[in-house]
Amino acid sequence: MNYNNFILLGISLIIIGLFFLLRFFEIINTPFTETASYVFIFYGLTTVFFSFGTGYRERLFFASFIFLSGIMMFVINYYEILHPSSAIFASLLFITGGGFLILFIDNTNEKIFLYSGIFLFVISYISITFLKSFQIIQTANNISMLVLDYWPVFVLLFGINILLMRKR
């Protein structure tokens, strides 16, 4: 991580902390997903901007993933979508495709990332238009919803993994 990334991380944590604090004292009344979406968008966008051309490609990929996840959370929260769970499968494919597209923009010699991104975008589009009534898509959405319900467990495992894998 470079200097800017650490500043961004610090500022993002302070912003999300202040949001929670203001929400706790009922000064603002935004739901948790909306608060998280603002922070995801802010952190993802700025990190992508600062990571271009620096060689930190893993950060570029995951920051674009975070940014698009923030957009998805914001859209689901802001608009009255009847069945938001039915968009999870398509969103996951779209967000991953966005990550591959960013990798291509970072290094345009690697056409495979462009093709992978387009491939995922196409599947995402097909799944939400032509195949949306298919049972398999609904099953995928149900599985994803189940996983999302247990997201703190994954965050916990991710944290433990970072602690165990770090270089001492």
């Binding site: 610090g10 290094n107 599985i143 703190p152 944290g159």
Partner: protein, 240 residues
């Protein structure tokens, strides 16, 4: 002359033996220093209490840090203990030879990030699954735990930013190949992990989860990438 020579040799040998013994004895004069409980600044995150305790017991500092973090959930008295220990314990400014802790500056950021994720995970597991009543925080509302921790961590990162700095250099790799050495199937994950400069097993695990969630789309993508990506060139052998 010939008779005198063995005598001289004998004398020389005995002198050498005498001095060698002296030297060997000198090595045992210095007694090993006894470990004392103290704060260790090097490798510390805040005041060096956890590093000092870990060094004293010969264990990893992260274990002590996690115990302190858990204590925050159980009344927060660990914080009071930490402050008292930070005030009372003497400082040991350098990690000397008897310290068995090897500290790299690279681990700071990961320790902070990992601890924060563990904290958020525990907090929301407790919140979502109804264990919130088992958490305590100095008698204050428990929901203050999360915002206070986040603000403090953010402030801490900004305050100690120079300690975090040289963490990891970005990768200079310009070409994405399927890996020849680090592969389980076709080397896509190994190659991508090398290109992105991440741990290959973590990437594999993420790919498996992605494939599971997308009902096999990840497998199709894997094959797609494997078909259109070259394999890493074989290393050239040096001919003698």
């Amino acid at each position: 002359m010939d008779e005198q020579k063995p005598k001289e040799d004998e004398f020389e040998n005995s002198l050498n033996n005498f001095f060698e013994e002296e030297i060997v004895e000198d090595e045992f004069v210095e007694e090993p220093r006894q470990k004392s409980l103290s704060k260790i600044k090097k490798g510390s995150l805040i005041a060096g209490v956890c590093t000092g305790i870990a060094n004293y017991f010969g264990i990893e500092p992260v274990i002590i840090r996690v115990l302190f973090a858990v204590s925050i959930f159980l009344g927060g008295w660990g914080i009071i203990f930490y402050i008292i220990a930070a005030l009372l314990l003497p400082s040991e400014l350098t990690t000397d030879e008897n310290s068995n802790i090897e500290i790299h500056e690279n681990s700071y950021a990961k320790t902070i990030a990992g601890s924060l994720f563990v904290f958020i995970g525990i907090f929301f597991i407790a919140d979502n699954f109804g264990f919130m009543n088992y958490l305590f925080f100095f008698g204050l509302p428990k929901f203050l735990l999360l915002p206070v921790t986040m603000i403090l961590t953010g402030g801490f990162i900004l305050f100690k930013i120079n300690d975090f700095l040289p963490v990891k250099s970005g990768t200079k790799k310009t070409k994405f190949y399927r890996s020849r050495n680090d592969k389980r199937l076709l080397g896509v994950c190994g190659g991508l992990a090398d290109y992105l400069n991440v741990e290959s097993n973590n990437l594999r695990m993420l790919w498996i989860i992605f494939s599971f969630l997308t009902i096999g789309a990840g497998i199709v993508l894997y094959i797609f990438i494997a078909v259109f990506t070259e394999k890493e060139a074989e290393p050239e052998l040096e001919l003698q």
